[in-house]
Point group: C2
Chain length 347, copies 2
Amino acid sequence: MAKTTLVSLAESLGVSRQTISNVINAPHRVKPETRERVEHAIAESGYRPSAAARQLRTRRSMNLGIRMMPVVDGINGSILDRFLHALTEAAQEEGYRLTLFSAATDDDEVRQYEDLLNVADLDGFVLTGTHHGDQRTAWLLENEVPFASFGRPWSDTEDPFTSLHPWVDVDGGAGTEQATRLLIDQGHTAIGFIGWPAGSGAGDDRRDGWRRALQAAGLPADQLDLRVFDGVPAGARAAEQVIAAGATAVVCASDSLALGALSTFRSRYPAPASPDVIGFDDTPVAAAVGLSSIAQPIEDAARHIIRVLAHTLSGDEASGRPDKHLLLTPTLAQRFPHPLAGDGWLA
Amino acid sequence: MAKTTLVSLAESLGVSRQTISNVINAPHRVKPETRERVEHAIAESGYRPSAAARQLRTRRSMNLGIRMMPVVDGINGSILDRFLHALTEAAQEEGYRLTLFSAATDDDEVRQYEDLLNVADLDGFVLTGTHHGDQRTAWLLENEVPFASFGRPWSDTEDPFTSLHPWVDVDGGAGTEQATRLLIDQGHTAIGFIGWPAGSGAGDDRRDGWRRALQAAGLPADQLDLRVFDGVPAGARAAEQVIAAGATAVVCASDSLALGALSTFRSRYPAPASPDVIGFDDTPVAAAVGLSSIAQPIEDAARHIIRVLAHTLSGDEASGRPDKHLLLTPTLAQRFPHPLAGDGWLA
DNA sequence: AAACGTTATTTGATCGTTCAACTTAGTGAT
DNA sequence: ATCACTAAGTTGAACGATCAAATAACGTTT
């Protein structure tokens, strides 16, 4: 049984190749009667157009590239897993496929763009983890390669909502602000923040949210603002410092940091009735140890990214174009804070 | 600046298309002198062969498919993340790329094979989570589609080492056996096992390892063998039962189950000096709560899978063919068992 | 110097689509 | 009856590579 192609199908039907091609790509050009006959034959024969041939002619592969970041921290990594998943599903729905590539650094990533564009004919890219002075977005814009990023473009001067490329992001600051307000409502008057060194965009944004909530409540931030590199041990050490500065609760920029902080808090203070340590990303680890955490609607983000990218690629300016820039609001997953002493997270 | 193609490059060099093609695909056919001149020109012009054209002619895409399983359990899911990562890197080294697709069920996966083979011209597939009576391997074998699986073919009658398709797996039984022996050496005489319902291949294998260790030491397994569906709450409940049956330690088929068990154990027994609950997969959660766990060499597995698959696809029977069937041995990550009461996992 | 074998290089055909230009038929207005 | 226009369908060329077969170049043998 030979492989069915446009030509073989056309012959057996007594029509021309192009008519079949039209049935597939521009049905309105074909008389309904003929169309139905062809459609039936397509289903019958199980014909599938060859991606290679189509790609050669149209210069579109329906393939999007996404980089696998090196696994630095198993804890935070899980969010990428969820993201990738949602991305794959959304892409599939829009008729696109995802091609993975791995790059150790941003430079490396840029270097691979060229290869991937030519060699694999990728139609566009999904970026994650944008930061200040991101060379990747600059390169892609310069070379007019379609892409969308999870993460807004971070700049001190420009409004992200005017940026040239589409992006979706989660309003981390709104999340930490909400978390901090909860702690304030619970009666805390000295609330610390454990975050990353300044300059990371997302990290600064989360810090700002905490600071806003404190200011609104007229509470001090001095001595309570710690900046460390991500990781559980670093979080634990930082927690000792904020406690020394008088803090009775703390908001963290990641679940890794929060997990460390939680261990310090439990060894210094008895387990309280409401959260005193709040993390970020709502990872499985947080759920496991009963750590409250700020949850990103990452599935929504993924879906929207694909939608925007697909829209850009289709060139279809008319039909309901999705927001080019979208800032989603995270939610707070509140948990009983010391499960290993009870059954907290079993519910 | 027009895109460089074989023809444009050939013209500017005064040689024929085919010569350039040969420099790339069969350098030995070209006179060293010419070759060097062409190679220089290639580098100069930044020429990259078009994947589409090549694919159309050779019917090979250098693309491998891998399915994204639905995220069931964030805890165990992280291992897939690591696997995917290693797979991507290994594939890249061998000149292959990975294309993701998502399928909710095995049936769905099989259905997508056809599409992916035609539409995306995938060269082969990587399978994960093989089980008894797996329809996917049957379909792929029948249709002569190259693939390799992470997970041996599970059958009561046939020796996996004679199977027709290549696979890599981790000897889970060896892992649980080692873990159980450790508990025995530590003085435990009633050691339970919390695993999945019979029939899952990998699950039964892990149970068998535990049982072997007990038998070798002349210890009883009665009443201590629990079968539940995966999850933290289920693990906690099962732990109550094994404790009721007299167990002072337990080995689990997953970190989810182990995490539940750990919570029960800590509420019944004081924290011991050596592990009394041992999980499987060495997930970040295990590391976070100081849970000992059996660690799969998953990066090695991924690398080998790609190597075998690449070898099959190259058709190169001669050059050092990698083992068609490979069983790797896991290691035991031993941890201090109650970090939240101290600084156990900060080291 | 003719005949030969090997190596180096070129040429024509092909993979399976889509684009662009073209033909044919049908409809309605002038 | 002529013309203009739209609709439906056809055909040749092109996308950019590789395969297979043909040719050119070159040193060896007779």
